[in-house]
Symmetry: D2
Subunit: 345 residues, 4 copies
């Protein structure tokens, strides 16, 4: 039984961590923090959890956190994470950071899209926590940069094919769609019900900060610098992310070869479900789960390969993957705490 | 470990039974049936359950069902249930019937609203499976008439107060609201997305068949015949049911007395959550759970008591309560298989 | 052609006024104001109106407003309205106030639920702008207190029956449901998509300030003080309001008598649609329109009368009724600018 | 004043035609037909239109239709249209066909994706009714093949750029998203509220029949055969269509040149709204209107051009464009009946 702290427990990713860890048989959720709600009973903020989480939030204070935790999940904004990580590592804690601060190896890329990095020495040792790809390194990591939701949904279908050179990484276009919870708990015009409902729209066209995160991982895998086109969209639903990825296949790659590659790669990966030919992922089918469902099709007219994936942006796209990383780090079965039966609807 | 059959497994209540029983540690889901989908793999109908339910549906055939099941859940239309129950009981099976066929003691009431009853001898021995009220009789029952969703949400806040004579049962008005899943899996104009979305409406005004079910239970509890007013409404959401019940309190009954009565009655009832003063239930907080959240307020102007409850119509309103009944019947802890941590949103 | 100003043009009621007045053939929308968005082009706030409203918002300044307007619509918070009205009237403008400040005749009732009234002399001369009831007085009014959305939806089905003594006003219970736009444009946890979606809940139980507004009008109509029970609820949709009103009919009142009374009263009232027996209103059918659809049923079991109404909370519940009042005040046909064909879905 | 018939008036496109034509000042809606609802009062099917459309549906009978109509709108399934068109033309009627039957010049393309064409002689004379592109030919046409919703949303941003050779048509990828009304009024599992809500998914990947329709028009414009990649998706909203189109710009084409080309092309086209730099279309902003809002961005990393458009699939994507075609055919102003002020939300 290990003790876990969730720092930033009242944002949506934090709340989802609280949910998963409260039900995790090998974990005691020992600390929850919130700048805004310090001193407040958690179940007044999330009444659904009444009877399950009977704790107050405390301040984001490293000393107090370290006293009661073996593993610390940081569900904080970029930059705030970076400021807290060294103290936690120095205290011997293992850290899963859900911000972008430790997702990059390339300092220039990070700094071009975020801000100056103040823990450069940790960028190299941190492990990018895309479990199905970097699981072996996760096991012994002290610091995980938990992947962004969009990169998770785009990289899982794409990386095995890039690795096997079945597709041309220079041709990648990722058209991605997210539920409104991806915009966070902050109340603003974007998240206002009356603006999001009956609305579908693209945002941050050509400028979303998950682009360099995907590019770094694709480049590492391809062994050559890769630029992609990525457009995120907002869907009038609470949870869910669908990615439609277009890529030119290597000469001769057909639907069957894609299946062979993905089946071989994801054999024994419990959270990737490859769909039968002719079926395509639906966010409803992964809602509340840690699954990434993947389907694909070579377009008969244009010859392009169309890859489709669906995840729950708050689970496999954030909190679930973070717990999956923790499971690997502490030698638990990868699925513990994440294996609830999905809702049929 | 007991073996459970779900008869009518592809309707929404059936699918929810499949979900809960698949994750129940003391149950092996051994049989699933469907007239429409016999021979079809279950996860092609509900792809969310891919990897969890690897069975085909079989026909609704009592002999085949009995061979592999200790307990049988019937998620069938009225009348169809009644035709199958005797064979199951004769084979020594215990039965939880989700239709209305065994919810009534009063044959006239049943027949006035449904059709002639063909198993009158079982009406008396069947137990009305509102666990928090009739739990003691459930333990030894062979046949459960699992309550309707509306009656569950109305009776739970009301019955303790009627029993203690804190309210006048002749004054009950129940204004109830249900998510669209309550209309079932059948595709028709009512359940069409474009007709349900951005739509709020009453239906079956003054004529819903859950009225006599509530009246029978209120009458039994009050010791006198009770007529109520009940209007159901349809809400543009998938899951959830909220009931706002208006009743005239007995002279002197105030908000505090209501609390004392409900707290005393529901002490040790794990699935009823009584809210603090000034907070009222929200369907979002019980989504996917077996909880019934209850709040109340004496209206300062009119003096009427306003009782409010929220349940998930498919869980506490159907499949969850059915499993809760099974747990009691087989001596399991009441909460087994129903204790997943709720989603914060 | 008259010139109209909308003060507070960026809130939802204000935006709906802008929409209607922009398409009104006898009106020139000449001034739009906003404290928050002064100096900003209106179509950057509401891009749907791009090409239709090519004006910037100005400050809420009475002198500037009066210079360019014959009629002034105030879509302001309570109290702010009251502070601006005298200057507008002194300048000879006619005013339709959408706040609660001039809806009451009874100063004590207003002050008990709002704040001290600083224009008491205007409370008496202001006309309560429920057009179908007080239309004759509206014609010559200089100041209209435009009704609240809930009172509009509750009073329209009820007042004719109270007037004819077909129902007992002491027994009124109004269970009302509103779309999220009723909570306004302000971004907060209530209006956040992820909290409103898949959520149905009551709010301000026993304490909503529309209660005294309804009570005053029912009391005036009944000729005796009336207290009612009113519970508002929030529905996961943008627009729409449904009210289910329960009342004890006078001895002998049946469904047919209700029809005769309502048909007689609403003959020649173009915005009330009485539904055939057995059909009940649906918010979807009045979306975007100034209609109030009304249905009813005497409950066969309890004998109570159930009245049901549906309006668009932003149109008949706010901006549409305000323009209807203006039409009457300026001698236009009551329906001008409000007669667009409804959307079938 | 001309007389118009809507054949197939109860489907969603038909109902939207009924709405628009009922409010059109130069048109008398004289005939509405429905196979399923012949003899039924229209406002029992679409109660929103009560008071506006007081007609019964009649059978789809050409003689009866021709007797009372000058222009006939066919909102019928493919093939059924083709069987009716010759009789209507022979009777001297002008026809706007909303099916795919007369959208193609290339018989092979049509027959490969639909069925044998039985009016080949009319394929050439029919005009593809994308008004902004083919408006001059529409004026004198007797038969219009009204464009599909997806082609409308993809071709409007794309064709001017192809024509000016600012983009390479061989690189077009169209990722399109439609509200559920696009799936039609038929009730099935796809349109069931509980399956569409909280669901985002692709469908007919690599096989949608709007692909050849787009390809034919792009090929004609480019002067060379063009193959594109097109993936449609379903969004949990009633109305709206967003298309995100990726294309490789010709060397040197930048954001400004795209603006110049589109502004030049769409000058004096009242239904195309080009958005300012940095703003992108939102389906909410065109809901219920005949607008096509267009935005774009050259992706700084990959250099690809991203074009974004939003329409209401039932209006500009179907009924609105059909009426726009009729306006051109009969010499009315292009915007008559289509110029209602949009709803701000």
């Amino acid at each position: 039984m290990i003790r876990a702290a969730v720092v930033g427990a009242t944002g949506y990713a934090g709340a989802e961590l609280v949910r998963i860890l409260s039900g995790h048989p090998d974990v005691s959720l020992s600390v929850i923090t919130s700048r805004q709600y310090a001193g407040v009973a958690y179940d007044t903020i999330y009444p659904a959890l009444s009877g399950f989480v009977q704790m107050d939030c405390i301040e984001n204070e490293p000393v107090a956190i370290c006293k009661d935790a073996d593993v610390v999940f940081l569900a904080l904004p970029h930059k705030v994470s970076m400021d807290m990580v060294p103290a936690l590592l120095d205290a011997g804690k293992r850290v899963v950071d859900l911000s972008a601060d430790f997702r990059f190896k390339n300092r220039e890329a990070y700094e071009a899209h975020y801000q100056p990095h103040t823990c450069v020495h940790l960028m190299e040792t941190a492990v990018y926590g895309l479990c199905e790809i970097y699981g072996e390194q996760v096991v012994s990591a002290d610091l995980i940069g938990n992947p962004g939701c969009y990169p998770t949904s785009v990289l899982l279908p794409l990386l095995p094919l890039v690795k096997e050179k079945l597709v041309d990484p220079a041709t990648v276009i990722a058209d991605c769609k997210s539920g409104v919870s991806g915009a966070g708990r902050g109340a603003n015009q974007t998240t206002h019900f009356c603006h999001a409902h009956e609305s579908f729209k693209a945002y941050k066209v050509g400028g979303h900060r998950h682009t360099p995160e995907m590019e770094e991982n694709l480049s590492l895998c391809a062994g050559t610098p890769v630029k992609i086109t990525f457009v995120p969209h907002l869907v009038p639903m609470t949870r869910g992310m669908e990615s439609t990825v277009y890529v030119t296949p290597a000469s001769g790659t057909d639907t069957t070869q894609v299946r062979q590659c993905l089946e071989s790669f994801y054999r024994n990966k419990p959270f990737v479900r490859l769909l039968p030919d002719g079926r395509f992922p639906d966010t409803l089918h992964v809602k509340g789960t840690n699954f990434c469902d993947i389907g694909w099709q070579v377009d008969p007219g244009s010859g392009r390969l169309i890859l489709l994936s669906a995840i729950d942006n708050l689970v496999k796209g954030a909190a679930g993957q973070a717990v999956q990383n923790m499971n690997l780090m502490f030698g638990f079965d990868e699925t513990v705490g994440l294996s609830g039966v999905p809702y049929p609807l």
